[in-house]
């Protein structure tokens, strides 16, 4: 049984977090994350949510406080955005290393300078090497469901890593959409109480966060890599298990959308996926063989699943709202690296789009598909990186 309501995306997150019964929440406000932590604060103020809420003086302390709480066997949560996520960076690396399984909502927003509060993925993509598992979601419904799954994924004894659910600022956080909510009993039976492995306990004193020399550090890092590899399978199982309860299946690590027989496949993450799906439908109705791979889980990088979906396509156009200065987009790099040396690999072109809130509309997608068609017809790659929709007047 579930109930349906039209809510703000931020409220959907807060309701998901509430349903997961966190013991400790700590947060520092930053646009466009603020509504999430305000909704949670209101729930506590109204006596609807029993949890310790630490109102810290910085994002650095927000991530640190939930790390301490998680190490003390409490289910813990925070949310941040943009500069706040960067301020947390050092903490997130250390908490992944300490195998602290908290959940964090990464509300996507551009990075300074120039300062902007508009959406892109540069902030969370910058955390890709930290050991934090990352999901990117398309809708408020998916953001709700993914948060419920996130705690179970993080706390799995074969994983034990922080999980970040990345959602586009404003487009998702501040939009009102219809969301179907789980009943509390359903969440409780899906997500049992947190059972940590190593934690701070006076009855069984342990030393956490030891100093490591050259004889052990590599093994600790390798253990995170192994956990990430294991997580690929476990995440799919947990998503399936949740889908059995909710009746909603958003896919596993990826969602392959109309990829059958596609010659050109777009990849995308986050809220732009919805627009791409509409565009793909239109291309298909025009007889163009275009499909989409939505990357839901970015870390661990689900190459095997992507490969299964794109195999047979001639061109893969990666659309991404991030850029590694001096190189190219992160998703494009990941995909090309994994495809390198495969004789049947499609040509991959990396399109940088949607930075700093630049609208990604059907026109943008048409330009990308047109360029992909040029590559398809010529068989030659484009000069990269391909920045889409740049305004030459501003560049002068």
């Amino acid at each position: 049984m579930s109930h349906i309501q039209v809510v703000e995306g931020s409220e959907a997150v807060a309701l998901a977090v509430k349903a997961c019964r966190p013991q400790v929440i700590s947060a520092y406000p930053i646009s466009p994350q603020t509504h999430i932590v305000e909704w949670l604060a209101k729930m506590i103020a109204d006596g609807e949510l029993e949890t310790e809420y630490i109102r810290v003086e910085s994002e650095f302390s927000a991530a640190s406080a939930i790390s301490g709480a998680s190490a003390t066997a409490s289910r813990s949560y925070t949310a941040s955005s943009s500069q706040g996520l960067l301020l947390m960076t050092e903490v997130l690396y250390a908490s992944a290393g300490l195998r602290l399984p908290f959940v964090i909502t990464g509300v996507n927003r551009a990075l300074s300078a120039p300062i902007s509060i508009q959406v892109d993925h540069q902030d969370t993509i910058s955390l890709r090497d930290s050991g934090v598992i990352q999901f990117y979601v398309e809708s408020s419904q998916e953001v709700y469901d993914t948060h419920i799954a996130a705690f179970k994924i993080a706390e799995d004894h074969g994983i034990l890593l922080p999980v970040m659910v990345c959602m586009d600022g404003w487009i998702l956080t501040h939009s009102y959409e219809q969301v179907s909510f789980m009943e509390q009993e359903e969440v409780d039976s899906f997500l049992p109480p947190f059972q940590p492995v190593n934690f701070l306990d006076v009855n069984d004193p342990k030393t956490l966060g030891s100093y490591a020399e050259d004889d052990v550090l590599m093994e600790f890092k390798y253990a995170i890599h192994e956990a990430m590899q294991y997580a690929k399978g476990r995440i799919k199982e947990i998503f399936s298990e949740l889908a059995m309860v909710t009746g909603r299946d958003h896919g596993g690590l990826i969602e392959a959308y109309r990829t059958e027989g596609a010659e050109i496949i777009l990849t995308a993450m986050g809220s732009m996926v919805g627009t791409v799906k509409v565009a793909v439908d239109e291309f298909r109705s025009e007889g163009k063989k275009v499909g989409l791979v939505k990357i839901r889980c970015y870390r661990p990088f689900p190459f095997e699943d992507i490969w299964n979906a794109i195999r047979g396509a001639k061109v893969v156009a990666v659309m991404e709202a991030d850029f590694s200065m001096g190189s190219e987009g992160a998703v494009g790099m990941d995909l090309k690296a994994k495809l390198c040396g495969r004789p049947d690999a499609p040509l991959v072109i990396d399109f940088i789009t949607g930075l700093g809130g630049r609208e990604v509309n059907k026109g943008t997608i048409a330009v990308i598909v047109q360029k992909a068609e040029e590559v398809l017809n010529s068989g030659l790659p484009l000069p990269e990186p391909c920045w889409v929709d740049l305004n030459p007047a501003i560049l002068q």
Binding site: Q23, V24, S26, T51, E52, I54, R55, V56, E57, S58, F60, S61, A62, S64, A65, I66, S67, G68, A69, S70, A71, T72, A73, S74, S76, E90, V91, A94, S95, L98, L200, D201, V202, D204, P205, K206, T207, L208, G209, S210, Y211, A212, E213, V216
Partner: protein
């Protein structure tokens, strides 16, 4: 009884760690935990203590202990305290045992946040006046005219020209109910203050003078003596503040000149190399005299 059990039985902070000979911190920590007992969780930010007590595979800690980062000891501790509150574990208490680098400098924002929120944490700073773990670089706690590796004495310099940050006063200004200083030179007093701090709730602060043979430049057998000289010349006031008011002071029985303190340590050696140092020695004496006056450190005879 297993070896770790025997070790824990004897002390909650065991020997066998990698501290330098004569380390004031190791001594302080052993006595801190004697005073708290085993029902504590300790958070230690990056520094000497973290490095010498926790080499992977070994641990000196007989209590649950976590090191996370350099600048977040207070916020990690706030999280631990919140978790204990959520779990209704009222009898388990939270300590931070940090160095002066993380307390005075890099973790200053976090300690202010913890104090302002009123979190139930006893924050203990073992102050050795520099970043000793990395070779003795200047910190906000380095004393005036001490030579540190990032602010060294040289032909054109007499070391640090600024005053030491007055952290106990800053902590007290946040409204912390208990603020105190102590020294490894007086271990019973140190234990008494830890026990007293453990009796109240909320954010409490104890700053312990922990002389550092390696960093300050004195023989390791003189740690306690150097600590005592620092107190008796007035540079290291030992006191308690409860709810913003000074409630106890360790009186100086016989005031000694600061030169006795300075001459005993290599970090002040440059002040005696030539005439340049004389004015600075007088300045340091003035700092000590002000401290004596401010804290009323001199024991007066009853006839006065």
């Amino acid at each position: 009884m297993s070896i770790p059990q025997i070790a824990r039985h004897e002390a909650l902070f065991t020997s066998g760690h990698r501290a330098c000979h004569g380390c004031g911190i190791a001594l302080a920590v052993r006595h801190i935990l004697k005073a708290t007992g085993k029902n504590v969780i300790v958070v230690t930010p990056t520094g000497c203590l973290e490095t010498f007590s926790s080499p992977y595979g070994y641990s000196s800690w007989g209590v649950p202990w976590i090191h996370h980062l350099f600048e977040n000891g207070p916020s990690v501790a706030s999280g631990v305290a919140a978790a204990l509150k959520a779990q209704k574990q009222d009898s388990v208490r939270v300590l931070v045992i940090a160095g002066d680098g993380s307390t005075f400098d890099i973790g200053f924002g976090a300690i202010s946040g913890m104090l302002e929120r009123g979190d139930d944490v006893l924050y203990i700073c073992t102050d050795n006046g520099a970043y000793m773990n990395t070779g003795g670089q200047r910190s906000g706690a380095s004393p005036t005219y001490s030579s540190t590796t990032t602010d060294p004495a040289g032909k054109e310099s007499l070391g640090k020209t600024q005053m030491m940050k007055d952290l106990p006063a800053i902590v007290a200004a946040h409204g912390a109910p208990y603020v105190a200083t102590a020294s490894v030179a007086f271990l019973k007093d140190l234990q008494k203050k830890v026990k007293k701090a453990m009796k109240s709730r909320g954010p409490r602060y104890l700053q312990i003078d922990t002389p550092c043979p390696s960093g300050w430049g004195f023989p390791p057998e003189r740690t306690l003596e150097i600590g005592r000289i620092g107190i008796d010349c007035g540079l290291v006031p030992i006191f308690e503040m409860e709810n913003g008011k000074i409630t106890s002071i360790r009186k100086i029985k016989k005031k000694i000149p600061v030169t006795d303190y300075l001459k005993a340590q290599a970090r002040f050696r440059h002040l005696f190399a030539d005439k340049r140092g004389q004015a600075e020695i007088a300045n340091i004496q003035a700092i000590a005299d002000r401290s004596i006056e401010n804290y009323d450190l001199i024991r007066r005879s009853s006839k006065e």
